[in-house]
Structure formats: structure tokens, C-alpha cells
Amino acid sequence: MTLFDIISLVVGVLLLVIAFLAINAKKLINSVLFLSALSMLAVVSFVLLKAPDVAITEAVIGSGLVTALFIFTLLSVRKEETK
Amino acid sequence: MSAILLVAVPLLVAFLSILTKKFAPYLLILVGLFNLVMLFLLQDGTVIIGGFDQPLGINLFLNLYSRIALLLINGLIVIIALLNIREYGKFGSILLLAMAGLNGLVLTVDLFNFFVFLEISGIAAYLISASNKKPTNTFQYLALGAVGSSLFLFGLIILYAMFGTLNMSAMITAITANDNYTDVILPFTLMFIGLGVEAKLLPFNSWVKGVLGNSNTMSGPMIASVYAAALSFVLGRLIDKLFVFEGTLLTVVTVILTAGILLGDMMAFSSKKTREILLFSSVAQASIIALLFVNGILAWAVWLIVANALSKTVMFLVINKAVKDIGCDETKSLRGLFTNNIIVGIAFTLATLSVMGMPLLVGFIIKLRFLTSLAALGQIWLIAIILIASLIEGIYFVRLLVKLWFKEDNEISVKYNVSFKLVFVILALALLVFGTYTAPYKSITIDDSVTEVILSD
């Protein structure tokens, strides 16, 4: 079991666990945070699979902007409830 | 002067149209007319993009099959844009992008490029359906459309991993060279399901009821006739050339499609809302068209798509305009719609009779010919099912026409302005003329080579 196999096994299992948690999370905020953790793991697996271009793009877009958009939607909704 | 202008010019004008919001609809009509003129000037052939030929770069391919599709798409978009200028001017740039997406979808020969244009026309369709002011239905359409194109990409990538190329013609030669059919069953089913979502085939089209159920004079005809026609053309080319259906896969696909025909017509039979009747009948028609492509009857499938698109445009425009003025969609509230606008009534009746397949109209000739071709292929069961479906179709369309013509007590005031009437008359006349004058069907020969994706020089 080379080092690469061990790391890819850990990343693979983590991917599945976090995806399951993201789908069945009770609160929306938890589900969004799990999604952002999932896209960070995707960046790790892209680096493992020797795809640097895609890793940079996924890092900036996936965990950066997509999570931000999700959180802005949830914040604007919570503001309406408190009004 | 290459076929690329059909995609590049609408894109360029769309990018510029956001700077001048007011002129977007007029630019749309200008570009539409430009495309129609271009279609008569362009010769058939393969167009190379980016300077690298087929295995490395992307090619477009223009032949008689895609020429008919492009004429239909661009013509109908110009007509729909002309009728909806005042009310939906804001959607000018979106319709431009939809036109670019659909033209690219029909022209491209590269599979991943096909996925990108499927995504462009898909997102444009979500926004067109957003004009219905029903966010939940638009969201369901977006969710299902995204699932469909992801499944298509999944199947496409498996094919790339196996055969190492993305170009359709190279893929076809590689698949025929590797005669082990069990390898390609999984990618073909994934891609068929992926396209089935957009092409409204039955088990995957739960979005149709919501989106077309409360459509308006712009989104109804656009999604029901233009998008349906484009995707039927494209699905047909893939079914005929790429997906070689055999054995169990063929029976599964035929069962799905025949179930689609019967269930679609039964749902239309049992629904009370006029627009639901129309959308379920177009679901049944889409399944019939896909069935014809699976059995290799190309010519009549193409003419069925064209006739269906024209008559559905007329029907959806008439009903959506009436529903907008009256507000309610039930058939009993539209009773007696045609008593005080006779011309519109005649055009609607001709279109409905053509969809049913009544003599003296285009629908009759097409239905007769494709049934005889099916008989030649010995598909007795399919003919029985299609005849039963047409019987059900006849019943609910005649019931609808009776309601719309003979008014009860209530008085309906729906006014169609002149431009609507002009379009209805032209389309109805086209259905009538081509119903009786059958020369063009023989002169324009559509045989197996037409959906060829490489120019067999």
C-alpha cells in the first residue's frame, strides 16, 4: 500500500462521509458548511490526481464563491424572518 | 461565409445587447432574419474551428437534415419574437442566446461541445420559463435539466474513456470496430435518459406539467414547439447514428416510448385544463417521434417534427392569449372562445385536425406514410398502439373543439390583434397546402445518409 493509496483511501472515505452528512444535515447552515468542506476535499483529490489547473479553479470557485453565495442566501432569509 | 456565423453572430449581438436594453428585441429579429438568409447561402460541408481538424479540434457539420432543423428553429423564434415584442422585450437577449444555443446544438459534431450547447439552451429555457412567474416550477425544471445534462456528461465521459475520442464520427467508427455490445449499454442508457429529460420523454418529464401548464404567449410556444423540435432533431441524429439499440436495450427503449405514447394521451384525455391537454399531446407526439427514429424511419420523423412544431405554435399561442385575457385555464371557462373570432377558430381547428391526422391536412399524409413504413418493418404491435393513441387523441381533441366553438351562457371577450391573426392564417394555410400538394415530400429525399455526421465525400 503505497503512500498514494493510503491518502487516496482516506480522501475517498472522507468524501463519502461528508457528502452523506451534507445531505442529511438537519440545519441548512450545517449542510452548506459540509458542502464547502466537500469542495475542499475535491481540491485535495484533484491535486492527488495531478490536475493543478483544475485544483486552483475548484479551490477559488468551489469553496470560495459557491459557499459565499449559499451563505448570502441564508442570511438574507434569516433577516426577513427577524423583521 | 461559414456555418459558424449562425452561432457567432447571435452570441456577439447578445453580448452587445446588454449594453442597450431597449434595442434587444429588434436586434433579435434582425439576427433571426440574418440567420434565415444565411441558411440559403451556405453550402453543405464540415466547418473546422480553431484551425485544427477533426481529432484535435471541434467541427460543425451542415447538411440537409440540420438545414431543415435550423430553418424551423430560426423561423419560429423570429415569429414568436415578433408577436411578443411589446410584452416580453426584456427577454430579447435571452432569446438571442437560446437561438445561439439551439443553432450550436444542431450544428456541432463534437460530443462535449454538444453538452456545452445543451447547457446553454437549457439555462436559456429555465429563464424563459421564469417569465411564468411560478418559481417552484422553474426550480423543478432547473433541477431536472441539470440532472439530465450531468447524466449525459457521465455517459459521454465513459465513452471517451473507452474509445479515446470526442468527435461523433470517430466515435461511431470506433464503436462499430469494437463489436462487443455489452460495453456500450451503460453509456447509451445514461445519455438516452439525459436527453430524455430535455426531450420530454415520459418517465423523466415531470417538469413539463408545471412549466407548460402555466406558460404565457412567449414561453409556451418557445418551449413547446421550438425546444421540442430542436431536441427531437438532435435526439434523432444521436439515436440513428450513435446509439445502436439492439437486443434487450431496444426492447426496454421501445417499451418506455410506447408507454409514453399511451400514458401521455390518457393523461391528456383525463385533464380538465386546456393547456394540460396540449402539453400531454406534445409529450405523446415526442414519444412517437423518438419511436420512429429508433425504428430508422427518418424522413417521416423529420416531417412529423416540422408539422408538429408548426401546429403546436398556433395552438399554444391561441390558448395562452385567451388564458391571459380570461385568467382561468379550465376548458369550461374558455367555452365559446371562437364564436366571435372566427378566423382564429378556423386556424386552431386546422392545426388540431393536422395533429390528429385528419385527411386533407399534413398530419394525415405523415401518419399514413409512417404507419405504412412501420408495417413494412413488420412492427404490428407499434401500429396497434399508435392507432389506439390516435383514437384517444381524436376523442379529447374533438371534445375540446366542441367546447371552444359552441358557447354556453357566458360571453367571452378575447381580442386577437392583427399580427396574431396573420401568423395563424399563414401557418394554417401551410398545413393545408402541404396536406394536399404532396410533391415536396418526394423531391426532398431524406434517406439514411442525411443524418450522416461526416461528409461522405
Binding site: 493543478p52 489547473d53 438574507s76 433577516k79 | 474551428i49 480553431g50 442566446l97 429563464l127
Partner: protein, 238 residues
């Protein structure tokens, strides 16, 4: 855990295992890790003649712009439609910022201006070196958008110049298509490279690839900033 979820989970696992098995026992589907590019189209991307003709050291960029530029044009249109769609769905006159009950102090507001400059420099670096090192138009543009996002978060009265971004977006997009049409007019094919290619590996090489990547970077940056602006503002009085 309701029974429905458990049943759905099992069903999806069965479907996943079925797909994996279906692919494992087909012998022409390459196993994980043995993808030899000899049998595939991408073998020719490394051929010296093609590398010299396109001139980009980063082969992925050569494919994204040089060989398959039409895909990228289509994909930039996808982002253009979603920015347009978000603007249409939100509609309405947008004046006031969404107040998120978060009052930034003075230090944060000034500090974020400094950081904004630094992030912009890194994003331009990534865009300009797109054809040499990993990165390029898409991540570069997204980093510009995250710099604008930083200003939005750090300062609750900040409103980016939305009109300016719209014009930049329209101009960058149409310039991309015009370069394609120039390729059609000057050279013989749409999006063909008509600039000198230079030697592989130095900054000013690979013909139209850096020019197109700068345009894509500006367009992606302005589009995503427009989307962020739409998400962070609401109607309401000025």
C-alpha cells in the same frame, strides 16, 4: 433516520456499485491509474509539431483555448446567461445594501482596501501566466470576484460600480467573439491563431491565447461580482 432515507441510501449504493461493476468487467474501460494517452486523441497534443504551432507550455491551456476554443466560448456564454438570469430574477431597482447587523470598525474597512490591491495583483499574475503555469482566465477572474467580495464583506456601505462591470462584461465578451471572427477573416478558420507564436515558455508567446485569457479573466471577474452584488442588495429605499 427515517426509513425512507435509509431505503433511498441503500438503493443509491446498489446503483453505484452496479455502475462500478459494469465498468470493471468491460475490458476496454481503462482501470484507474492505467490511462495511457497513446490510444487517445490527447496523444497528438504532445506532438512537437502541434506544441510549436500553438506555443503554450501549459497543455491544458492549449486545449482550452487553442484546440477547443469553441467550448470555452460556449462556457463563457453559460456564465453570461446566469449573470443575466440572476439580474432578471431579482429585477427591481436596487439601491440599498442588505444590512446584516454587522458594523465593521474603521480598521477593517481600511485594511480591506490594502488587501484588495494585493489580491488583484495575484489574480492578474495568474491570468497573465495562464499559458505557462497552472491557472488562467477562470481562476484569475474568480479571484478578482473574491477581491470584490472581500470589500463587500468588510464594508457594509460599499456598492461596486455595477454599471461599469456590466459594460466591462459586454465589451470583454464581444471582443472574444471579434477575435474569433478576426481569425475567420485573417486566417482561414474561426478562432484561429493569427498572432506570432514566439518560443514556448516565455511570457509573450502562444499567439492569441494570453489575449483571450485576459478577456476571459475580466469577463468572469465582472460577471461573478455582478452576481455577488445582486445577492447582497435588496430593493428598499436608497
Amino acid at each position: 433516520m427515517k426509513i425512507k432515507n435509509l431505503f433511498g441510501l441503500l438503493l443509491s449504493l446498489v446503483l453505484g456499485v452496479f455502475i462500478i461493476l459494469a465498468m470493471n468487467n468491460s475490458e476496454i474501460f481503462p482501470a484507474f491509474g492505467e490511462a495511457n494517452i497513446a490510444g487517445r486523441v490527447s496523444q497528438d497534443y504532445f506532438a512537437d509539431a502541434n506544441v510549436a504551432e500553438v506555443g503554450s507550455a501549459n497543455i491544458v491551456t492549449a486545449i482550452v483555448i487553442g484546440y477547443r476554443g469553441f467550448d470555452t466560448l460556449g462556457e463563457v456564454t453559460v456564465l453570461f446567461i446566469s449573470a443575466l438570469g440572476v439580474a432578471i430574477i431579482f429585477g427591481g431597482k436596487k439601491q440599498s445594501r442588505l444590512d446584516l447587523q454587522f458594523k465593521p470598525n474603521f480598521m477593517l474597512r481600511v485594511g480591506s482596501r490594502v488587501l484588495f490591491g494585493i489580491i488583484l495583483v495575484t489574480s492578474f499574475y495568474i491570468i497573465f501566466h495562464g499559458h505557462l503555469t497552472p491557472g488562467g482566465g477562470f481562476p484569475g477572474g474568480a479571484i478578482i470576484a473574491s477581491a470584490v467580495l472581500l470589500l463587500y464583506l468588510a464594508d457594509d456601505r460599499f456598492r461596486s460600480n455595477v454599471k461599469g462591470f456590466k459594460i466591462l462584461e459586454g465589451v470583454a465578451g464581444s471582443l472574444f467573439v471579434i477575435i474569433g471572427l478576426l481569425g475567420l477573416v485573417l486566417a482561414t478558420y474561426f478562432l484561429q491563431n493569427f498572432l506570432p507564436v514566439g518560443t514556448v515558455g516565455d511570457l509573450l508567446s502562444a499567439g492569441i491565447i494570453p489575449v483571450i485569457y485576459v478577456l476571459i479573466g475580466l469577463k468572469v471577474g465582472s460577471e461573478i461580482s455582478g452576481i455577488v452584488d445582486n445577492f447582497l442588495t435588496e430593493e428598499g429605499s436608497a
